[in-house]
Amino acid sequence: MKVTIIGSGPSGMHFARTALERGQAVTLIDLGNRGPQPPLKGSAYAALKSALPDPVSYFLGDDYNGAELPAAPGAPPSAYYRMPPSKAHVFARPPQFALTEDGLYPLISFAAGGLAECWTAGAYPFDDTDLADYPFGHTELAPYYAEVARRIGVAGRADDLSGFLPVHGHMSEPIALNDASASLLTKYERKRHRLNARHEIRLGRSRQAALSLALGSRDGCTRCGRCLWGCPNGALYTPAQTLADCLADPRFTYVPGRYVSHFDLAPDGQIAAVVSHPAAGGAAERHGADAFVLASGALNSSAIHLRTIWHARRETPRLGGLMDNRQVLAPFYNPAMLGRAHNPASYQYHQLAVGLPAKGRGHYVHGQITMLTNGSVHPVIQQLPLGLRTSRQVFAALRSGLGVLNVNFHDTRRAENYVALDPDRTDATGTPVLKLRYRPTEDEPERIAGAMTAMRRFFFDLGAPLVPGMARIRPMGTGVHYAGTLPMSAVAQEHSVNASGQSHDHPNLWVVDGAALPFLPAKNLTFTLMALATRAASKMF
């Protein structure tokens, strides 16, 4: 069978790898933006600033976009994520792509490896509660979690969080905790009985797709502190690594530099061909196959699906059920670290997590704890209501104990949140552009307030209080876990797929990315996307 996959993100790559392992030939069409290789592999974060020929340009960019200045009066707020210049390619959009946003401001990637080239490697399996709306439970998915963990290396431990985070096969030893995280975990362990008696929240090690020991051609984490700018050792997993593995397989054909517009449909509703354009512009090209796999991320996959309908029937339906995790960031301070030196030789991302169990179905709240290790400090220093000289000194004194709790909330599919084509706005080819519309639920403020009160009390009793008045509810879109627009459905209805991701609209189409999720738990979804894609390919071949 000739299989063509669209998109090289986590879903596309694990579908491809599974198909290749089962002897299939695979073609992958992708825009495939690529960034620079991490420079000076052996240099740690601080050393990089001495060893690079021009570290200011590396860290701020030639356009100084990495400098976060206070907003001038009346100016619009700056972008909600300021990625380093070395990751600029992840969010670069081709000229063909345009978007109308209403209530949700997404990040979209056309990079080789997709958005997960910028992820923070949180790899949390869904449990039966999370999967209640899915046509299968955790037992069905468990072998695929184990398979993905074997491929990419997922670290974690059985601890107090195991009640929310199922322990799966091939879980490896996590990277050693940085000093600040170790201090926090020690506090928790010391007060564990009292905390567990008074609070529902549990604390434990994060699950990370990051290696403590070498795996294949990837090295274990050297704690060079460069996670954010691009791990130079390959310890932090990104789908581009799986793409590199696949490229070594002669049965894998990679077609980069193509912007996929839509599918041509055969009279019987089957997909006949993928229609794509060169990224730099030019005539359309058609790629035929027996089976087609949409894996370009929930929003892009939805756009391709909608443009297919528009080209076939000039209709602009709505795909309801758009979801994303609402995020709340709450800084905290661990006074046990006062007067202790900040250690830049640290793994940068979250090493601890907290879980607040469900009260009703699907209401588990997930939190990740990130200590302030390396990174641009001027955005933080300027926040203090003090002169910059004093702010710098205060920050230096408190830095080692500062951390951020990133609280994630679940989302459900609701008809009023949708993606569609915007009839009022067309792209260069005359096709309507993608339009998003999102409104939170009415009870959201109450849910957030309830969870944050529980978090505040827990962290206070833990001995690392949240900084009063500093918690920020982030705009919708910052979760970067877009899902739910072409969901799995046991009932064959339009704009949906079956339990294996096979489309109910087009029988030779499989949707294996976030679009197929019928419910979005609070946990980071990327690990599950990889497991679902692996499962879909396993069922298919």
Partner: protein, 460 residues
């Protein structure tokens, strides 16, 4: 001389003179400088590497393609024994390892005559230089070791110290002053290095290098006294060993406050005359006598700089000066040219290089440019009442550059381990100072703002 030369310690006495000489050749120069060497003279075509000798990740990659390493950097003076070891021994070991890894061909190590002293009790410096020499010889690189004696030059700290001691009404003389000294002109040390490079004398030899003539310490001090103060010196004989023991006893707690360490007094216990060797013989005919050298140094006067015609500062001048003041305010130090270049470019790229339209913004910016104290007052006010103003935007921009620039990034990564009590104390003091500045700033800027608003309500 051609090829690429990597020089450590380029900001020191020998380094500065050597660079002036090498810049006249065709050699490409790479200078490893510590961030504290901000004022090191640099030519535009030099490649400057801000790094740390003990941390090869800061410079190892830049050794690629280097033909010769000239290792001048060392700690001297009253440093603690562990500092001598860390910089002079461990630092040299790291540099040697990195040089080998990078395929460097030649290694020239500038050691010290002290490495050959026989009595080095208390003298960790001499011991560190001896160990470093051993590492160089055993490195397997083509190498040469140069052991200068007392190096004299107008800017040499030893010359300044000697003149201070020798011009005292009564000159202390330890151990009778019978040991020999053979001071060498810094220009001759530079000639020695260039001769080694030109002749390719990297055969593992150790060259001691003194000046034209040797003389007893007492005669030398007398010579210095006569040149600087006129008339013969009056000496106060002091017993060497008891003084050394006494100094060694108090050094661990009072090193900083002592005029000299027990180790430094080894100069009075050992001969510092150099042996004859082919290098010295090649240079000797053109060397000054010690008497001529001392006479020249004692008569040097710094020529006054010619007056430059005043000119109107350009917008770039204003921004550069502003960057210097703001950097001094934010992190208490000056800036390198790469920082001011980035500041100019970034201000232009982000379109904040223009004069602000708002009068109050213009006024606070001009006020802050007057000096570090002014910058603190204006910023303290802006941090609360004018966060989006031009002053704050420019200062934050500069800070973003400072935290990434080779010469200043370390200041933003430091978070000293000083214990909770000291940390709280420090925070308290910072808070008190900031509050004081804010009160003053409010007293200045609130009335100004009101006056500006009253005088031109539509100005904004």
């Amino acid at each position: 001389m051609t090829g690429t030369i990597f020089i450590t310690g380029g900001a020191g006495l020998v380094g500065t003179a050597l660079l002036n000489r090498l810049r006249q050749s065709d050699a490409r120069l790479k200078l490893l400088l510590r961030t504290s060497a901000l004022k090191a003279p640099r030519a535009a075509r030099d490649q400057v590497i801000w790094g740390n000798l003990g941390d090869p990740s800061t410079y190892g990659a830049r050794l690629k393609g280097v033909e010769t390493v000239i290792h001048l950097a060392a700690t001297t003076g009253k440093a603690a024994p562990q500092e001598f070891r860390r910089i002079n021994v461990d630092g040299t070991a790291e540099l040697l390892r990195a040089s080998k890894r990078a395929g460097v061909k030649n290694f020239l190590f500038v050691g010290s005559i002290a490495a050959g002293y026989t009595d080095t009790r208390y003298y960790a410096y001499a011991e560190s230089k001896r160990q470093a020499e051993k590492l160089v010889v055993e490195s397997g690189l083509r190498c040469v070791i140069l052991r200068p004696t007392l190096i004299l030059g107008r800017e040499s700290s030893i010359w300044k110290t000697l003149t201070k001691i020798a011009t005292l009404p009564v000159v202390p003389l330890f151990g009778g002053g019978k040991v020999l000294v053979q001071p060498v002109d810094v220009a001759d040390v530079v000639r020695a290095i260039t001769t080694i490079l030109e002749q390719d004398w990297f055969a593992g030899e150790t060259f001691e290098l003194g000046g034209k003539d040797a003389m007893p310490m007492r005669a030398f001090l007398d010579l210095v006294h006569r040149s600087c103060a006129g008339g013969p010196a009056r000496f106060l004989p002091m017993p060497l060993k008891p003084v050394q023991h006494l100094l060694a006893l108090v050094e661990p707690v009072a090193r900083k406050f002592l005029p000299a360490t027990a180790g430094q007094l080894c100069l009075f216990a050992n001969s510092s005359a150099s042996g004859r060797n082919r290098l010295w013989e090649a240079l000797e005919p053109d060397m000054p006598t010690t008497a001529d050298l001392v006479a020249r140094l004692s008569k040097v006067r710094v020529p006054a700089r010619p007056q430059e015609a005043p000119r109107q500062p350009t917008p770039d001048d204003v921004l550069t000066r502003e960057a210097r003041i703001f950097a001094n305010y934010i992190c208490g130090r000056g800036i390198t040219s790469d920082i001011s270049d980035h500041y100019l470019k970034a201000a232009r790229t982000l379109a904040i290089d223009h004069q602000p339209a708002d009068r109050f913004d213009r006024m606070t910016l001009a006020f802050a440019r007057r000096g570090v104290g002014f910058a603190w007052l204006a910023d303290s006010y802006a941090a609360i009442f004018n966060r989006g103003g031009m002053l704050r935007r420019r200062m934050v921009l500069l800070m973003s550059i400072l935290e990434n620039a080779p010469s200043s990034h370390g200041l933003f990564e430091q978070s000293p381990s000083r214990g909770p009590v000291a940390a709280v104390l420090k925070l308290g003091l910072s808070g008190i100072a900031e509050t004081g500045v804010l009160v003053m700033a409010t007293a200045i800027f609130v009335p100004v703002r009101i006056l500006l608003a009253l005088s031109s309500p539509f100005n904004r």
